[in-house]
Amino acid sequence: MGGPKNKGYKRSWKNLLLNKRYQLRFTLFMVIMSGVLMAALGWWVMSAAAESTSIGVDAIRDKRECVPPPKPYQDMQPTKSGIDLNTNELDHRKKQTEPGGKIDEVKVDMKIMPPKRKIPGADDKKADKKAGDKKPDDKKADDKKAGDKKAGDKKAGDKKADDTKSGDKTADDKKADDTKSGDKTADGDKANSPDGDKADDDDESGFDNGDIADDEAYRKWKASRKSQDVKVVLDVKVHPDFAKKAIAFYACRLERAQAIAGVRGGQTTILLALIAVGLFLMLGLTLYGLKMTHRVAGPLFKVQLYFAKMRDEKYDKVWNLRKHDQLVEFYEHFKGAHEGVVKMQQADIDQLKEIIEVADKHELASKSPELAATLEELKQILARKEASLDQ
């Protein structure tokens, strides 16, 4: 203001906070009120949005029900190698014809009955019982007996079936396993069954106690067991429109997921938008509030500067407020007050000037020392008052 080049006063951001108590109180009230309003209504908006989203998702799910493709189904086709499966007690524990079945669920139980052999000293009934003269379909009985007997031909059959079930093994491996199991079973026969004992005894001693023809048949059967091989071919049949329908199904699922994600994304967008708007609003309000209250605090600050001068008996010229300042009317009142005080000062000066002039003219100071002292005091007051207006 006092520089040689008076560029005009520019508001500075540093000086924005002039009256902290007043400005912060009003600004914070606005900001907090807006924040509370935004939070409360924002919560309401989000509740409505959540409800709308939920209904929207339900509607999408309902509208876009995706028809799943027909399931491929498996048809098990057992074939044989070295054995006629149609006649030799191949039991499909479960023939999988239902769609969607798994290969692991297919179990094949083979029951291969050895040719009957006569054992001397044993009656037919007993022999039938011990040799497992059973019906091929009597699976449960087989299982039970297999557990009890721990040996016998059935066990060999089970073993084979298990081998078949494993599926992963190659034919060679299978053969090897079969052979192994066959040997093992044979040993088991020897160990457990009375017949087996006998056979072993025969083998070891070379003495044949039974019917030679039967033994021959038995050996043949034993030999044939080793070469038995069972293959299970799982023929997967697929619906002619499977590929088309599968593509349509997954495309539909994808589209539905995208639509649901879109609806849910809308809710997230609303939340983010609310937060962003809320923060932006609060920041904007803080700045605007400070600026707005500054337009009130500014004139008050200016008046306070004049107050300080008036206290020091300096009656400067009072300048106008800046553009956009508030409290213009209040400031005009202040100007009036300042003017009034200056007038009082001026009136005092006028009176003092006149009386001092007349007193000097009539040499009043010589009339009494008291009068001289008070006159001197008046002169000092006059000088001080004149100085106060010469700013």
Binding site: F29, M38, L41, H333, G336, A337, E354
Partner: protein, 226 residues
């Protein structure tokens, strides 16, 4: 600032204590209404825009619900679904439409109620809040007017809860300083007049006229400072 307000009761014999009147709350219209208007309009904008969002979502949900009801009439896509006829869907739709209307109307009324309530409460609160600023300013304005009339009487403190206390204290110090200075100056003039009288200075002629003028000035200033 309006000047048609009751004057301070400092000189009253029976001091009843100043009571705020509702009609006196709006002291500085431009200051108070500006702030009240700004905050109220801001609140209205926030409430209005968010209220519209709420309404839109509710409306959207209602529409979706109606669409779902309409879709019941479509032929079933599998054995689990039931074929609804117009006769069976009609009452459901009617009930849903009525329910939606009722809910939407309730929502609009609630929002309007909240909005109006908010504006009323906010305006009243802001009126009181701004009055606590406008009050001290008004009081200072009255003192300013007295100073303009060259009267420097006593000053009284602000009421409890008033704002701008620092500003008012500053004004009071200034006012008191000017008053004390003038009182001191006036006392010096009084002493001079007494000394003249004691010295037997003649009250005739130009000197006497000036002394009479000075005495009148001294008396007037005494009255102005009391």
């Amino acid at each position: 600032m309006t000047n048609n307000l009751p004057k301070a009761t400092a000189s009253d014999g029976k001091k009843k204590g100043y009571k705020r009147h509702f009609s006196n709350y709006l002291l500085d219209k431009s200051l108070q209404l500006r702030y009240i208007g700004f905050v109220t309009i801001l609140s209205l904008i926030i409430s209005g825009s968010l209220g519209y969002l709420i309404y839109r979502h509710e409306n959207h949900a209602s529409q979706r619900l109606l669409e779902q009801i309409e879709s019941l009439k479509k032929p079933p896509r599998n054995d689990k679904e039931i074929q609804y006829t117009e006769d069976s869907v009609g009452p459901i739709r009617k009930s849903a439409i009525e329910g939606n209307k009722r809910r939407d109307r309730k929502l609009v009324l609630t929002m309007l109620g909240v909005g109006v309530g908010l504006i009323v409460v906010l305006s009243l609160y802001l009126l009181i809040m701004t009055h606590k600023v406008a009050g001290p300013l008004y009081k200072v304005t009255m003192y300013f007017d007295k100073m303009r009339a060259q009267r420097l009487g006593d000053t009284w403190p602000l009421r409890k809860g008033d704002m701008l206390k620092d500003f008012y204290d500053d004004f009071k110090h200034t006012h008191d300083a000017i008053r004390e200075r003038h009182q001191a100056d006036n006392e010096a003039i009084g002493k001079f007049l007494e000394a003249c009288e004691a010295a037997g200075v003649s009250r005739e002629g130009e000197l006497g006229h000036r002394l009479d003028e000075l005495e009148t000035h001294h008396t007037e200033r005494d009255e102005a400072l009391s």
